[in-house]
């Protein structure tokens, strides 16, 4: 799992240095945030190749949107919000090209190989098989350890919606895990 210790003051400093246009600031921003953002994109899209294509777009948007960041202490939620919107834009284009596929929990479970060595591996596979809305909320809250308020800000939805999505996501994940014979 890739998480970055939450330090609002350090994030604000980094954001301000970027907004000032300090030459090394964006290198520091990349050094601090590329791994968690990559992990988030990778989990949402499910493959390295697709993630790599999207990831460059994420950083272009981050650079171009930097002057619009009003509160540097919220850098973390802001970055995940941009990342999420970029992924969604790409997926929207993909879905527009490809015929829709119905997802159900049994189907997701059947995709797992019988030789899954560890429960954690099964959890990862079950997570990747969940619909994107549930996957992103679980990833942000449990894997990236954003607070509920930060998740709401990143997803641009009310707090209540985050809670209901989390509830539904946990239920779907439990069902997918149970269908694979793993007790969540």
């Amino acid at each position: 799992m890739t998480t970055t210790e939450h330090n609002p003051a350090a994030d604000e400093l980094l954001a301000i240095r970027c907004q000032l246009g300090e030459p090394a600031a964006f290198d520091d921003l990349i050094a601090r945030w590329h791994a968690p953002l990559w992990s988030f994109v990778r989990r949402l899209v499910g493959s390295d190749d697709a993630a790599q294509e999207i990831f460059q777009d994420v950083w272009i948007r981050v650079i171009r949107s930097m002057p619009q960041l009003r509160d540097g202490t919220r850098l973390r939620a802001w970055l995940f919000g941009i990342t999420r919107r970029t992924v969604m834009d790409h997926l929207r284009q993909e879905y527009a090209r490809a015929p829709p596929v119905d997802l159900d929990v049994d189907e997701i479970a059947a995709e797992a190989s019988a030789e899954d060595a560890a429960d954690l591996e099964v959890l990862e596979r079950a997570l990747v098989g969940l619909p994107i809305i549930e996957r992103e909320v679980l990833t942000l809250f449990y894997l990236q350890e954003l607070s509920l308020n930060e998740v709401a800000e990143a997803l641009k939805v009310p707090l209540g919606t985050v809670k209901s999505r989390l509830f539904r996501a946990k239920r779907l994940l439990r069902q997918a895990m149970a269908a694979r014979g793993v007790q969540p």
């Binding site: 799992m1 246009g21 290198d27 650079i63």
Partner: protein, 164 residues
């Protein structure tokens, strides 16, 4: 949980990308385009306003030139705010350049206007004055933003123990 580590070359790719996005020459090129288009448009507008006896076809041609100049100004402004963005220090430099060029343009037009009693040159000087005011406003705002951000940066560096 499986680790999703980024490919090793990714950071270098991102740094290259950032360098290209923030490259100075491209940004200054668009700033130059904005200033040149502004001055050309100001001169043509001054001609249109002060030469009522121009043949209709000439007036139409000048109107088209004004439209072209405004389009280039809009394009350059769009690039500088959406694509090759100007960050704090860049905005101050851009504001200084805009103020300097507008000042020279205004003073030059005024000098020509006085020397030749040319009404078009005087009108261009008035428009140049408006450009100086706009450039000064941009410069003042950019300087205040940089001052506020620098102050906050210093506070945070002290708070985080990065500065004594």
């Amino acid at each position: 949980m499986t680790n999703h580590l980024p490919p090793p070359a990714l950071i270098e790719d991102l740094r290259r990308l950032t360098g290209a996005e923030l490259s100075g020459p491209a940004r200054m090129g668009y700033l130059g385009l904005l200033l040149a288009a502004s001055m050309m448009t100001a001169i043509v507008i001054a001609l249109l306003l002060t030469e009522p006896s121009l043949p209709p076809r000439t007036s139409i041609a000048l109107g088209v030139m004004v439209a072209i100049g405004l389009s280039w100004m809009g394009f350059a402004a769009w690039v500088l705010t959406r694509r090759r963005i100007l960050l704090g220090h860049h905005r101050v430099v851009a504001g200084r350049m805009a103020a300097a060029f507008s000042g020279v343009f205004c003073a030059g037009s005024l000098a020509v206007g006085y020397a030749t009693s040319n009404r078009s040159a005087m009108a261009a000087a008035v428009l140049g004055g408006v450009m100086v005011l706009i450039a000064a406003a941009i410069l003042i705002r950019a300087s205040r933003d940089v001052e506020r951000l620098s102050k906050r940066r210093d506070e945070l560096e002290r708070q985080l123990g990065l500065r004594v």
